[in-house]
Amino acid sequence: MNLFHEFPDAVIAGLLIASACGLMGLWVILKRSVFVGITLSETALCGVALAYLLHIPAMAGALTLTLASVAVVAFPLEGSRLPRDTLLGLMFLLATSGAILLVARSGFGLIEIKALLYGDLILTSRRDLLVLAFVLVPVSLAQLLFARPILYAFLDRDAAWVMGIKVRFWQTFFFVGLGLVISLASKVAGAGLVFCYLIAPPAAALLCTRRLRSALILGIIFSSVSTLIGMSVSFRYDLPSNPTIIVLTVLLPAVIGGLRMIFQNG
C-alpha cells in the first residue's frame, strides 16, 4: 500500500499547491511582504467559514474575501497616516477572529471546525483537485512568463515606471495571482500549510543561491520534495499530514542556514 495509490488526489493537490506557493513566495519574501501572505491566508479561511454559514461553495467564499483583501493590499497607500503593516495587522486580526466567530455560529462539531481552521491535505477531493489545477497552473505559468516586468516593478519602482513598465498593473497582477493561489490553496490545505509554503521553501532557496532564476526553481523543488516526504512520513507513521509537512519544510531553511554558518565559520 503506498501513499500515491491511496490518496492520489491529495498528493497531486499537495504538489500543485507547493509549487505555486513556492514560486510566488519568493516574490513575497523579496518584496518584504511576508505579513501579506499570512493575512491573505487568514482572510481566505474567514471566507471559507463565511461560505459554510451562508451555504455557498467554500472556494467562492475564500476567493471573494481574499480578492477583496488584495484590493486593499494593492491600493497605493503613499501619504497615508498609517503604514501598510498596521493595516495588514488589522485585517489579520479581523480575519482570524472573524473565522472563529463564524464557525462558532455554524453549529459544526470540533473535528469539522479543526479541519476547517487548520485544513487537511489528505482530505482533498477530486473536485478540489480540478479547481486547483484549473487555476493554479495558469496563474503560476503567467507569473513565470511575466517574471521580468514583475521583477523590475518590485526591484526599482520609479525607474521601472520611467522605462515604460506599468508598475501598478504588474503589482496588481502579482497580488491578484497571489490572492487566487492563497484562497483556493487555503481552502484545501489550510492557512498554516499555505503560509509555510509561501515562506519556508523560498527562504531555503535564497540561502542556497544568489541567482533569481535558480531561486525560483529551487523554491519549487524544495516545496515539492518536502510535500512528498512529509506526506509519506505522515502516511507511514500515522501522523497528521499538515503539521508533518510544515515541520519538515521549516526544517529546510533552518538546516541550510545552519550548514551555511558552519561552512562560513569553518
Partner: protein, 230 residues
C-alpha cells in the same frame, strides 16, 4: 536655443502642501545641469515632476522628442540588496524599453552592456549581487543602467550622496564625459552648492518652490543664493 526640456509654470502639490509654485525653466540640450538649493526646496520634486513620477497640479513639461523617455538614476539605496540579481542583470534592465517583457537580449545588446560595464570599470564585478557591491559600485551600476538605455536625457537624484569623496568625483567625471563626448543632457540634484558650481557653468537654483538658471561663477562670487526670481 535647442531645448531638451521646458517647464512652463510648473505647480506640484503633495500632501496638501504646495512644493513647486510655478517653475519656468529651459534646460538646453547637451548641458550638465546641477539642481541645487536648500533642503526641502523642491529639488527632488522638480526632478520627479519632469520624470512624471509626481502629478503636476498646474503647468506642463514640454520636450522636443516625440516620445520623451529619459533615463532615471535614483539613489543607490532605492534597490533592496535582498534581491538575488547580479550587477549585470540590473544594468540589463536598461534594455527593457527595447526588449519588452519577452525578447531576450541580442548579441549587439550584450555587447552594448559589456562596453558600458568596461567603461565604468564594472566588468569584473558583473556577476556580484547588488548587496555585495560597495556604495560607489552600486551607484555606478545605476548610472550604467541609464547608459544602456541610450536615452538623450539623464536625470539623477543625488547620485553622489553617501559616497566618499574620490568615488563622488569619479561618478561626476563620468557624467561630465557623457555630456562632452556624446552630447547628452545630464540633470542632477546635488546637495553641495560649491562643488556643483565648480562642475558646471550654469546651475538651477531652487528655493521656496521657485527656480532659476544662474551663472555658477556669479553665484560663487556673491556667496549668496540668487534673489531675482523670488
Amino acid at each position: 536655443m535647442n531645448l531638451a526640456i521646458r517647464c512652463e509654470d510648473l505647480h506640484v502639490q503633495l500632501g496638501g502642501q504646495e512644493i513647486l509654485r510655478g517653475i519656468w525653466l529651459d534646460i538646453p540640450r547637451g548641458c550638465f545641469l546641477p539642481i541645487v538649493g536648500p533642503n526641502g526646496a523642491g529639488k527632488t520634486t522638480l526632478l520627479k515632476a519632469i520624470l512624471g513620477l509626481v502629478p503636476i497640479t498646474r503647468g506642463r513639461i514640454v520636450t522636443t522628442e516625440a516620445v520623451f523617455r529619459p533615463a532615471y538614476v535614483p539613489q543607490q539605496k532605492t534597490i533592496d540588496p535582498i534581491f538575488p540579481v547580479s550587477l549585470r542583470q540590473i544594468v540589463e534592465m536598461g534594455l527593457y524599453p527595447r526588449l519588452g517583457w519577452w525578447k531576450q537580449p541580442s548579441l549587439m545588446d550584450r555587447r552594448t552592456v559589456d562596453r558600458v560595464l568596461e567603461k565604468l570599470g564594472l566588468i569584473e564585478h558583473q556577476n556580484k549581487t547588488f548587496g555585495e557591491l560597495s556604495g560607489g559600485m552600486k551607484q555606478k551600476t545605476l548610472v550604467a543602467r541609464a547608459f544602456v538605455m541610450g536615452a538623450e536625457v539623464l536625470l539623477l537624484d543625488e547620485p553622489t550622496s553617501e559616497l566618499d569623496e574620490p568615488t563622488e568625483t569619479e561618478i561626476l567625471r563620468i557624467l561630465q564625459e557623457l555630456v562632452k563626448q556624446e552630447g547628452r543632457t545630464v540633470v542632477l540634484v546635488h546637495h553641495g552648492l560649491h562643488q556643483a558650481a565648480a562642475l558646471a557653468d550654469c546651475l538651477c537654483w531652487i528655493e521656496h518652490g521657485l527656480a532659476a538658471l544662474v551663472n555658477a561663477k556669479d553665484l560663487l562670487a556673491k556667496k549668496t543664493p540668487p534673489m531675482a526670481f523670488r
